[in-house]
Amino acid sequence: MRIKSIEDLLEIKKNILNKRKNEENMIIIKVSLATCGIAAGGKHIKEYIIKKMNDEGIKNYIIKDVGCMGYCYLEPTIEVMLPGYQPVVFGRLDKEKIDEIFEKYINRHEIVDGIVPINYNTI
């Protein structure tokens, strides 16, 4: 699909944004998977999250690989965005922590220990 003009580009962007609207009811999980995140075990965390989703029968979720979130000292890290909520970052993950996040945050929307406060501005 070659974009041949600026109008095409704007059209494509519009389509992408429309597609995102269909994702508004989805749980979106981003896993920090740059070299550092992978080295810290991010891929295992991702697999475990997918397994948990299957076990719990949750289907309305999207999981994606993203780059470095900047929190080297907290790796592995993920960002969870529940429908209608602001994204929340969790760090120092292991299976037990993921279990807790599922039990309390994903199922009951209850914030758990160890969330990472946003300490930056972006554009």
């Binding site: 580009l9 494509i12 981003k30 740059a34 690989d65 009951r108 406060p117 300490n119 930056y120």
Partner: protein
């Protein structure tokens, strides 16, 4: 059960001292007030405000309280949570976070292997915009933005582009320098792994500006994931028509090729980088001619660093006048730093130019590990120098760092605490440059090697005062006479530690002692007879059988045999081993 409100308590680094008792108090008082069911106490990671800690945040009204002590908790519960009155004296006044993500705007937020996610975040809009601009207007916009090269030197990017634009040649090249080699630096890798399209877009814009049809990314093969994601991004960009012939229906054509480096530090120097791309040995050439006149295959070439290029789309989208309001008078925008070393919050950060080291280390970085004392921070990697306590409040930009005997460099920032020996640090960096010297010019090849040997004499207690004078002299000679940036800057760590930590050099030379106890050859381990219970633990761990003694009788270390590994020191449970 669902909670209506949350009390977030920071449990990170400095706040950690009080977080438990603050938490306990909250729980107790919430229980007393029968709010336990509706307010939850949550411990969080760092807020990046460690200097003002301990931090408590009330959600969902997002009130941040600083300097909260356990005894303040009752007031917070009674006034804020019950009556809804905020406590003015504790409220965090300045609500501007210290970090601004411009280069890292998408890093960690989008899927780097999905071009649609980049387009969603205004990706390639800047390219579309510039294709309607004249080349000189575009270059003027970059000049107006005040952007300077993020690879280390800080040369004004707009001016560099203008030189390449004005240079005559049938073919021109845009080169992205992704040869990140400083120990402890990972900014470029993170950008390429997290947001490769921003670099591709920056390169295409630069290509249009200077009139190049071809771009090259010089990246080290030891960054396999960055290479993989970049290659995928280039293919996707080509498929979508952001690269290739007649981009977005205009007559501008531009494509990008990846060139792999073998990981030689000197290839980060632009002339050596170009030689390496041509298939020759990565050796620098003397300037002039600058790459803008005669670069890759003798054609006009513009070399920019990854971070510099990632800034370009934002400058175009937001305007130069937006960008140049961030930062200091002569250094605009932000800088990405890789915070490493003896610091609590090791991480990748992006801060506006002009921020102080204190804010970076003690707020964002969460202070020094294990409550130790800050000693120095090395900026600019092996080419830079160290900054100390007295520099903590200096606003950081290209010029202030140079004036302090260090440099911005590409953004590695290694923090050292009281346990680090500064002579050993200087020796470490020098060893790196000695290894990485290409060997072309004598000052660097021979000079740095001799300088290293002299430092070795210092750390082993064999140096004289005369040697120290020689170290100073040789450092300055190398600085003045080496061919390229690598050699010219190699003695910087030595010179800056001599300036800032002369006492430590003197201690090694005059007293034959290493004040931080790091230089093995100057340490002696002895057993304190009064404390030793004769448990034989040290005797059993000693790898060279230097410890002898009978059970329940004090042991002794044979200094002749001791290799100073410190195994006994860490094993002894009675603090009977003394390190001097």
């Amino acid at each position: 059960m669902s909670y209506q409100r949350y009390c977030l308590i920071c449990r990170s680094s400095k706040c950690n001292k009080f977080s438990n008792s603050i938490g306990e108090n909250f729980k107790e008082i919430l229980k007393e007030k029968e709010l336990k069911e509706s307010v939850k106490v949550v411990f969080t990671e760092c807020f990046g405000l460690c200097n003002k800690g301990p931090i408590v945040k009330i959600m969902p009204d997002n009130t941040v309280y600083t300097g909260v002590m356990p005894m303040d908790v009752r007031e917070i519960v009674e006034k804020h949570l019950i009556k809804g009155e905020k406590i003015e004296r504790l409220i965090h006044q300045e609500n501007k976070p210290k970090q601004i993500k411009i280069v890292l705007r998408n890093c960690g937020f989008i899927d780097p292997e999905n071009i649609e996610e980049y387009i969603e975040k205004d990706g390639y809009m800047a390219l579309a915009k510039v294709l309607k601009m004249s080349r000189t207007d575009l270059i003027n916009e970059i000049k107006l933005s005040g952007l300077r090269g993020r690879g280390g030197g800080g040369f004004p990017t707009g001016l560099k582009w203008e030189y390449a634009y004005n240079a005559k040649g049938d073919e021109k090249y845009v080169v992205c320098n992704a040869d990140e080699g400083d120990p402890g630096a990972f900014m470029d890798r993170s950008v390429l792994e997290g947001d490769p399209h921003s670099v591709i877009e920056g390169m295409a814009i630069c290509g249009y500006a200077i009139g190049a049809k071809k771009g090259l990314v010089y990246i080290r093969a030891e960054y396999p994931l960055a290479v993989k994601r970049l290659a995928k991004a280039i293919n996707d960009a080509r498929e979508y028509g952001f690269l290739g012939n007649n981009i977005l229906g205009t007559d501008f054509s531009f494509d990008i090729e990846i060139k792999y480096g073998a990981g030689a530090f000197v290839c980060g120097e632009e002339t050596a980088l170009i030689k390496s791309m041509e298939g020759e040995r990565g050796e620098p050439t003397s300037k002039p001619p600058f790459p803008a006149e005669a670069g890759y295959w003798g054609k006009p070439t513009n070399v920019n660093n990854v971070e510099t290029l990632a800034n370009i789309p934002v400058i175009i989208n937001k305007g130069a006048n937006w960008f140049n309001k961030i930062g200091t008078e002569k250094s605009k925008g932000t800088k990405v730093f890789a915070l490493a070393g003896k610091i609590n919050n090791v991480g990748l950060i992006e801060v506006p130019m002009g921020i102080t080291l204190r804010e970076i280390i003690f707020d964002i970085g969460g202070g020094i590990k294990d409550g130790k004392k800050f000693k120095a921070v090395q900026t600019g990697g092996p080419s830079g120098g160290c900054l100390t306590e007295k520099d903590l409040d200096t606003p950081i930009d290209y010029d202030t760092l140079l004036a302090k005997g260090s440099m911005m460099g590409s953004g590695g920032m290694i923090v050292m605490d009281e346990d680090d020996c500064m002579v050993a640090v200087a020796k470490f960096y020098l060893e790196f440059t000695v290894d990485e010297s290409c060997g072309k010019c004598t000052p660097c090849r021979v000079g740095n090697k001799r300088l290293y040997e002299m430092l070795e004499k210092v750390t082993s207690g064999k140096a004289s005062m005369e040697d120290l004078e020689k170290i100073k002299l040789l450092s300055n000679v190398i600085k003045d006479t080496a061919l390229c940036g690598l050699g010219q800057t190699a003695p910087n760590p030595v010179l800056s530690t001599i300036t800032n930590f002369w006492d430590e050099y003197l201690a090694h030379v005059r007293n034959k002692k290493c004040p931080s106890g790091q230089c093995k050859e100057l340490i002696t381990y002895t057993i304190n007879k009064d404390k030793c219970v004769g448990c034989t633990a040290c005797l059993r761990v000693c790898p060279v059988y230097a410890i002898s003694g009978k059970v329940r009788e004090p042991h002794v270390i044979d200094q002749e045999k001791c290799i100073k590994c410190g195994a006994c020191y860490t094993t002894c449970k009675f603090n009977a081993i003394e390190k001097k």
